[in-house]
């Protein structure tokens, strides 16, 4: 199972999902009204590297992170 972390202000505990790619994650999230608004503005990292493609293959034990808009400093 891949682990999904919701970083910073999203304030949602991690969940585990059984997916083969990010497209499947998008499908799962489409049923989650809590997270929909965040998805529009969040970047996605797989194993701590931000990815820009939905067909990225996801392995069991992968870590997927949702990163909302940032403001350091």
């Amino acid at each position: 199972m891949a682990k999904i972390e919701f970083l910073g202000p999203i304030g949602k505990p991690p969940v585990e999902v059984d997916i083969k790619n990010l497209d499947e994650l998008k499908e799962i999230f489409s049923k989650d009204d809590d997270i929909k608004e965040w998805l529009k503005i969040c970047a996605v990292a797989v194993n701590d590297t931000i990815t820009k493609t939905l067909d990225m293959k996801i392995n069991p034990n992968d870590k997927i992170s949702l990163l909302p808009p940032v403001c350091g400093g």
């Binding site: 529009k40 996605v44 940032v70």
Partner: protein, 146 residues
């Protein structure tokens, strides 16, 4: 070098330590950028969450970039609460060349604002309020948007 501190940064200590570390290394220019929390909109301060794995790799890639120009980067950032009129952020460039140094500190700080995985909250009446309006979506944001 990247260092994270709990709460406000001790600016004098950090910059003095950095200066003493680099002064004999023949760099020529040392340019710290020091961010200080402003008292505005009725806040008591700011608070920060940091995602360290991506912050570290972001910093390392900048350090490589600086190295190619003979320069070096230093950075300190606060985690947690930082009161008004104290510092949450210091970035510094050390460079043999003034122009390279001035360009690097500008570009590094600008990219920090756009790319560093750090989330800011206003401290208002003891509560953390996400500074959503001042925050920037990361490059690649919206990938999972429905």
């Amino acid at each position: 070098m990247l260092e994270l501190h709990n709460g406000s940064l001790h600016v004098e200590d950090i910059t003095a330590r950095w200066y003493n570390d680099i002064k004999a290394k023949n760099f020529g220019a040392f340019i710290p950028f020091i961010g200080i929390v402003r008292d505005e909109k009725g806040i008591d301060g700011l608070s920060f969450d940091i995602y360290e794995p991506i912050l570290n790799s972001w910093f390392d890639s900048w350090q490589e970039k600086a190295k190619k120009e003979g320069a070096m980067l230093l950075m300190a950032h606060s985690k947690g609460d930082v009161k008004n009129h104290t510092s949450s952020y210091i970035s510094a460039v050390v460079s043999p060349q003034r122009k390279v140094g001035l360009r690097l500190i500008n570009d590094f700080v600008e990219d920090f604002k756009a790319s560093a995985p750090i989330w800011k909250y206003d401290l208002i009446d003891g509560k953390r309020v996400y500074a959503k309006e001042r925050s920037m979506p990361l490059n690649g944001a919206g990938l999972l948007a429905i």
